[in-house]
């Protein structure tokens, strides 16, 4: 027991000690994103199908003009745990794209409508073409973007995150950047092709603000009103959720199995504990009346 107390005391001392030291610099400025509420937060969080479907629409109409998403296939859109479009819908969504295929029997490349087995087509044939069309900047592939972005939580938050299971640093950052465009502070002049973003590390971002209120039409409900607000904020949230699913398509299965595993292990550990106690009680000094 004494050993545990000393361990705890030592840990507490070091934590308090390190809290007083200056926090690390973020990579050249950029405000920490606010924490947003996501349907996929926490141990039982799942994706909101309607939100993912809206997110796909935002991706299709806005992001896909510049960003590739080469690891995602149309068939994924009908998989369990994703947007869960029907298979007919997926066929239609895929057919919406022209895919370069070939060579055919004559050795010619040809274009055909997309199929569910196709990956999302890339907007540019190569990095150079992408840079040429975007003022020198290369729009990153968005397939795993939600896991490839994060921000520093700092002490002691990063320890609490273990208990709260906070791992939405990527989505929080992406949504914040999508809605974080501002006029640069007085005295800062931006070069052509540069934009000021509150949450971007270093504040300078090549991507312009692309989401504006009312820009994308959402499916109408039975009352004739859109199923979600047609605002830039909502678009950002929806497409971010879509990116999170694209980065972690088996998240729902993972959390579901995780719960089963944890319950099993807790019960198993309990049984083992009592078995252990029973076995060790056979030792003479544990048996009552021997001393």
């Amino acid at each position: 027991m004494n050993l545990f107390r000393t361990t705890l005391a030592a840990c507490a001392a070091i934590l308090i000690g390190s809290a007083t030291l200056p926090a690390a610099h973020a990579a050249g400025g950029g405000t920490k994103p606010p924490g947003y509420a996501w349907s996929f937060d926490g141990p039982f969080g799942t994706f909101d199908r309607a939100q993912l479907q809206r997110g796909y629409k935002v991706y299709r109409e806005v992001c896909s003009a510049c960003h590739a998403m080469g690891l995602v296939r149309f068939r994924n859109l009908s998989q369990k745990g994703g947007p869960e479009f029907s298979e007919a819908q997926v066929r239609a969504l895929a057919a919406d794209f022209k895919i370069m295929d070939g060579p055919n029997d004559q050795g010619e490349m040809f274009e055909r409508p997309g199929r569910p087995s196709d990956a999302f087509p890339k907007p540019f044939p190569n990095e150079q073409a992408a840079r040429a069309a975007n003022g020198g900047a290369y729009p990153p592939d968005m397939s795993v973007l939600a896991k490839a972005r994060n921000y520093e939580r700092g002490f002691p938050l990063f320890l609490f995150d273990i208990l709260t299971q906070y791992q939405e640093g990527g989505p929080d950052y992406i949504k914040a950047v999508m809605t974080g465009y501002e006029d640069p502070p007085a005295g800062t002049t931006l070069q052509p092709g540069q934009n000021w973003n509150k949450y971007m590390p270093g504040n300078i971002i090549a991507m312009p603000n692309v989401l504006n209120d009312g820009q994308i039409e959402y499916p109408k409900g039975p009352d004739g009103k859109p199923s979600a607000p047609e605002t830039a904020k909502q678009y950002a949230a929806d497409v971010t959720a879509f990116l999170m699913w694209a980065a972690e398509p088996h998240m729902e299965q993972r959390k579901r199995i995780g719960f089963q595993v944890i319950v099993f292990l807790v019960l198993f550990a309990g049984l083992l504990y009592f078995t252990k106690k029973r076995i060790w009680s056979r030792l003479p000094e544990h048996a009552p009346g021997t001393h």
Partner: protein, 428 residues
Amino acid sequence: MSGPSTYVPKWGIAKWMDARLPLPRMVYDSFIAYPVPRNLNYFWTFGGILMLMLVSQIITGVVLAMHYTPHSTMAFNSVESIMRDVEYGWLMRYMHANGASFFFIAVYIHIFRGLYYGSYKAPREVLWILGCIIFLLMMATAFMGYVLPWGQMSFWGATVITNLFSAIPVVGETIVTFLWGGYSVDNPTLTRFFSLHFLLPFMIFGVVILHVWALHVTGQNNPTGIEVKAVQKDTVPFTPYATIKDAFAMICFFLVFSYFIFYMPNYLGHADNYVQANPAVTPPHIVPEWYFLPFYAILRAVPDKLGGVLLMGAAVVILAFLPWLDTSKVKSMSYRPLARQCFWAFAVTCIVLGWLGSRPAEQPYVLLSQIFSALYFAYFLIALPLLGLFETPNKLPGSIAESVLGKMKGGSAAAVGAAAASEPNTKG
């Protein structure tokens, strides 16, 4: 320790086998009848946990290797294909990636347990040195494994660490070219790291067998640090007593492990490693995996490259000399009041070094790294050699059995305590 074998084959086939290759006898003697000190606490369950982690890593690793493509243009996407298209591929990969972290969590607890209870002292020096070799092999394996997903941290981590060898005078550059298989980290580097990453775990397995063999020759140390005097009184048979206790501890460890696999799978990793390796773009901070951070801090504490490399190497190698650096005759720090304080100061030093390793290489972190690196080495080179000469240890119990029975009941403890008083006090 084990003494003469008490195995009596019961069945005909067992007798037949025993006369030809006494494998059942070995298993019986090593894992059933093997006497274990009765006073082991739960810190002694980490050996078994480590064995389990090694097996888990090998199984998940072999499955991953079936689907992985070791090529610089395909490695990143093949890992993503495991995550997306392979049935339960995400489970295999998350188990393997988090498994590396949990392997290190377990090995650090195991090492610190050895440090606290003096498990490195005679007659367990060889056992300890074998452990140091395993630790070194683990570090090499983990480092090369982290390169395989071919993300940004993979690439730049590999670049930074392999570049360290260039500090070696005369042959440094040649060694680096040899490691890379060319003039920069590229496809040949990836393929050889993949090959070695597959090989090294089996070398670890081999040294683990030696480690367990050496353990079964000397017997386990225990929280009192007193050697077993009477097998009957001081020990219990491995099965069922240690097996059930180890099993319980393993499941508890797997509970925490599972929490990370299923709920926090990317917590211990770095977001930059989900960006494909790009030799043209350097990440703002290149940081190694958390389990290397203390050594990384020591490396960067020295302004001179060669000096840093040597000091970092020394930080690992010095562990192997511990049996001769610690001059105290008393093993367990439970009976060494001053050494115990130094031990905790050392543990805190390691944590602070880990934190410093994650900071950018600028002030005040560099200065702090220098101070804490000095403290790290002071534990081995000043505290332990001198304490053995000057420290007065507390009174040791007469035997393992006595230390257990003394704790059991107040009444009987007094009687046992009186017996213990007649025992000579071992001064260091």
